[in-house]
């Protein structure tokens, strides 16, 4: 083994594995699993020539909980709350994917009002997720103040979301065939008032951070993801839209009632960290547009289909795949059932997992500090990667 020739017998399995084939004049640096720039237990091993990254390998799995095995030991209804735990940032994106897969397999018709409620809460949740990313990312880059502003707005939105979902973080308010609670008048009132407030905040964010010359210098031209790289690694979400590809699951595989609203898919062609940043900033505004229209045209009616499944309900036989647009990209649930009490198999497609897998290639040849900026620009939520 090469590492023994170099006298490298220290380190754990992954560092020894990484040392195989290293150059003689380089240094290996281990970041994490506890590292301030990785927001969770992500570990990256890099081989450095001076300050330049020659090779990088993310080591994941520290937060692995085997959600796919859990699915095989409980009914699908019991499994639903797991979705909010896969991605705490955009829990409702995952809620939507699982209920979508089940409703597709079972042929359920969801009442219109429930679909509107799903859209409103999912988009609110998307904004809270983007705000969390924005605060944490700018913190990575050395700006301490923005997260205070982000959390101010996010806090208010969590209060609003709590009225509709009952929780602040691991939301789990979707049900097979509807949603669990109706929107209260207070929710509608508060949310209607919040949308213009948030819209006024966005130009301030732009003035405060986005147009800041230091931020621009750190992000522009750094960490280019081209269209081919995105396809080879299956990247999605703001990552591909920052690479000039107009691809949003809400448009590409229309689901729920997104086709009834007037909104744009923000696309930036540069493919750099700045482009990914700008996509998310614009998306918050688009989500506000969707929320505003959905609130204005909220239909009356039921929020659950008649004879909705109970806890012991078993899935019908068959296979289905359902994708939604999560805050980080394409969330997919692949469901296989043999008609038994528990699902036969569930595969969770995590957008972060695919986006991060492209990091090693995209970081090659960059300064270490820039590589960390790429990690931040990917908006990583580790529990979603590790599942």
């Amino acid at each position: 083994m090469a590492y023994e020739e170099f006298g490298l017998t220290e380190g754990d399995f992954y560092s020894r594995n990484f040392q195989k084939g290293m150059r003689e004049d380089t240094m290996i640096l281990n970041l994490g699993p506890q590292h301030p720039a990785t927001h969770g237990v992500l570990r990256v091993i890099v081989e450095l020539d001076g300050e330049y990254v020659i090779r990088a390998e993310p080591v994941i799995g520290y937060l692995h909980r085997m959600h796919e095995k859990m699915a095989e030991g409980r009914t699908i209804t019991q499994y639903l709350p797991n979705m909010g735990r896969v991605d705490y940032g955009h829990a409702l994106g995952w809620n939507g994917a699982l209920v979508g897969a089940v409703e597709r397999l079972a042929g359920f018709e969801v009442p219109e009002r429930a679909e509107y409620i799903r859209v409103i809460t999912t988009e609110l949740n998307r904004i809270t997720s983007h705000l969390l990313w924005w605060g944490a990312f700018t913190l990575d880059l050395g700006a301490i103040t923005p997260i205070m502003y982000a959390f101010d707005d996010r806090e208010q939105m969590l209060d609003i979301l709590q009225m509709a979902t009952g929780s602040r973080l691991t939301h789990s308010s979707f049900r097979f065939g509807g949603v669990c609670t109706d929107l209260s008048d207070r929710f509608i009132e508060t949310c209607k008032a919040f949308v213009p407030h948030m819209r006024d905040r966005l130009p301030m964010y732009r003035g405060l951070v986005t147009d800041n010359v230091i931020l621009r210098k750190r992000l522009e031209g750094v960490g280019i993801f081209d269209a081919d790289l995105c396809r080879r690694y299956g990247a999605s979400g703001p990552v591909v839209r920052g690479s000039g590809i107009d691809y949003d699951v809400r448009r590409a595989e229309p689901y729920s009632v997104y086709d009834r609203f007037d909104w744009k898919v923000p696309v930036y062609p540069a493919g750099d960290s700045m482009a990914r940043y700008l996509v998310r900033m614009d998306e918050m505004e688009q989500s506000l547009n969707i929320i505003e229209q959905a609130l204005a045209s909220l239909p009356a009616g039921k929020i659950m289909m008649p004879k909705a499944p109970k806890v012991t309900w078993a899935l019908p036989k068959g296979e289905s795949y359902f994708a939604t647009e999560g805050a980080r990209g394409k969330v997919g649930v692949h469901l296989v059932s043999d008609g038994g009490k528990f699902p036969y198999k569930i595969k969770l497609r995590s957008p972060c997992y695919c986006n991060l897998s492209a990091f090693a290639e995209a970081a090659r040849g960059l300064l270490l500090a820039d590589a960390l900026a790429i990690l931040g620009s990917l908006d990583l939520v580790i529990p979603e990667i590790d599942r």
Binding site: I60, R104, Y233, G234, A235, A323, S337, D338
Partner: protein
Amino acid sequence: MTETLFDGLAVQSLAKCDPAKTGLLWSVFLSPDELLSAVKRLYQAEYFIEDLTAIDAKEGYLLVYHFDHMGHPGRVALRVLIYQEAPELPSIADVFQGAEWHERETTDFYGITFKGNPNPVPLLLMPEMKGHPLQKDDGARASLADLLPTGEIVRTVPGFDLLTPKAESGAATPA
């Protein structure tokens, strides 16, 4: 477009599915030898890899590869059956580098070997861990015909009966 994508390729079965009911547009059964040629064609047609996983069934491990297109969406599922006694098939990480992690994960969960994977070490599970958590016991395995819809079969090779129900009723091959 996909209709002609697999022309000239020895697929075992090519079926069109209803995306509203399954989420798939095409379901393609292949032998392990044909997998790489099919994957290369998808790459040339600018498809992207969504995910890959295995289904542990009576007949063997059914590997399922999902691809989609960003310009004209429509999911393609490539399906390759391998036997539990010799769970091995070629890696596609040379064409779609993103498959490296998905394959390592599938190795962790099912003990399937992907020949040619550039970094075949455990990804999500501990390197010291023995066993593969998603493998099913013999008694718990279902037959593929009970799990997967057949779709509308466009072409198939004679003798391909994976999705034909083998129940007592002896149902005829769905056309």
